[in-house]
């Protein structure tokens, strides 16, 4: 890979809870190249949202972030000053809940223009012009009149489009999308996904897509990072992950997707037995071993990271176990 746009090294997020320190993200590292789509997948509570919030320095107050290094285009994101300059300008974020992510008290035009004026400057008229352009770009017709509408006058799908338009108004190089389609119904999901893909091509945008939906990943991702219990268990190109999943957890996830023609009629949908281990305190060995079908005694000690080209996984088993 040529020079990465975003480089994350040993990122950790800890939360103080009553029963101890919860390590939500346990030292993960990854890179995002310019213009690439990286999907971070995993089940609820695996730390994927915490990761995305940590990158934008938007973590809740109870959370602490530490990192060996986070750089964006060579600039040190762990320094508040630099992060503040980049956030909302060269890196933007959209969220899961389009219904509540827009401020109900201001028109969408106000909210879009605000970021543009703050970061780019210019006159209000120019900013309004730009906002209207962006709305058209995300497929919202009669953009001018939409600008004077309030969020509660728009549907969920429209609001998510507005969020995307607003995030991209400053022409960022990186868009972090935290479950952008989870709250939308399936047809709208497909539209939003296609929109993201199109915009990516048009604007040369790098996208980090956080999701639990592997079906969605298979449609959009170039590279995939699979997280489990706050750590990365497998990373590779979309083809590697879907055709040759190496980690038992990834395989179990993929087996959970019903496939027309391959999944038998009336068969039970796949599940992974057991529950995610507690994230409080340190984790010895493989976090997945209690649910793993091929677990062995030595899974309780150190697990090696194995590598085949760009494909990496953290497991004692090599490739097909």
């Amino acid at each position: 890979m040529n020079k990465p746009l975003l480089s994350v090294r040993d990122l950790r997020v800890d939360l103080n809870t009553r029963s101890g320190v919860l390590h939500a993200v346990r030292g993960i590292s990854f890179d995002v190249a310019p213009g690439e789509t990286l999907c971070i997948v995993g089940e609820s509570g695996c730390g994927k949202s915490m990761t995305s919030l940590a990158l934008m320095d938007l973590l809740p107050r109870v959370a602490r972030r530490s990192a060996g290094g986070i750089t964006f285009d060579g600039q040190d994101l762990t320094r508040r000053r630099i992060a503040g300059r980049l956030r909302g300008r060269r890196m933007a974020m959209i969220f899961q809940e389009p219904m509540t992510a827009l401020n109900p008290a201001f028109t969408i035009g106000d909210q879009m223009v605000e970021a543009y004026l703050y970061h780019v400057g210019g006159t209000r008229a120019q900013a309004v012009e730009r906002a209207a352009q962006m709305l058209e770009k995300v497929g919202i017709g009669s953009a001018r009149s939409r600008l004077s509408q309030y969020p509660h006058q728009l549907s969920g799908g429209l609001r998510q489009r507005v969020m995307i338009a607003m995030a991209l108004i400053t022409d960022p190089e990186l868009l972090i999308a935290d479950e952008p389609t989870t709250a939308l119904d399936v047809t709208i999901q497909a539209q939003i996904l296609r929109l993201l893909k199109d915009l990516q091509k048009e604007l040369g945008l790098a996208i980090i897509l956080i999701t639990h939906d592997l079906g969605l990943v298979s449609r959009i991702a170039e590279r995939v990072v699979v997280m489990y219990a706050g750590a990365i268990v497998e990373e590779g190109s979309a083809a590697e992950i879907f055709d040759r999943p190496a980690h038992p957890y990834t395989r179990a996830l993929i087996d959970c997707i019903p496939q027309p023609g391959r999944t038998e009629r009336g068969a039970h949908l796949g599940t992974i037995a057991g529950v995610v281990p507690s994230l409080i305190g340190p984790q010895e060995g493989c976090a997945f071993r209690d649910r793993c079908p091929v677990a062995q005694p030595r899974c309780a000690s150190d697990i090696p990271t194995q590598q085949a080209g760009s494909h990496r996984w953290v497991c004692i088993h090599g490739g097909r176990a």
Binding site: M56, L58, G84, R85, L86, R87, G88, R89, A92, M93, F95, E97, T100, A101, L102, N103, P104, A105, F106, T107, E114, A115, Y118, H119, Y150, H152, M163, M166, A167
Partner: protein, 133 residues
């Protein structure tokens, strides 16, 4: 001076509580997170995005409290012997001067109605979702 402090002391705490509670709520909302994600400075996030939404219940309270203030001023004006509307009401009660008392009460209730109407109008301006009804 002292009468003003007396009335103010009595009327301020509910506002403090309400603004505090409202801001705690507002600062934890998704739209405040969005505003921060846009890279806006903290001051702008707090005073524009959060405060505006926290103010809606406060405005409602202002109307009610101002009404209370007028009632309360009856007592305060009497104690400090201030020659105001409250004192007039107090005197007309002790002299059993019904017409004056009625006029005072009518005036106060009119003020109450106007204040409530004003608070509704201000709230509709603050929060567009309240406009439809």
């Amino acid at each position: 001076m002292l009468p003003a402090v007396t009335l103010g002391y009595y009327i301020t705490p509910p506002f403090m509580r309400l603004v505090r509670a409202g801001m705690i709520d507002a600062l934890n909302t998704d739209y405040v997170r969005t505003a921060r994600a846009k890279g806006l400075p903290a001051r702008r996030v707090v005073f524009k995005h959060a405060l505006r939404n926290a103010l809606v219940p406060v405005v409602g309270l202002v109307a009610v409290q101002l009404g209370l203030l007028m009632g309360g001023s009856v007592v305060v004006e009497s104690i400090f012997a201030l020659d105001g509307l409250g004192y007039l009401a107090y005197q007309s009660i002790s002299y059993r001067d019904f017409p004056v008392l009625q006029a005072v009460v009518l005036l106060l209730s009119l003020a109450y109605v106007v204040l409530t109407l004003l608070s509704d109008i201000i709230n509709a301006w603050l929060d567009p979702r309240l406009r439809a009804a």
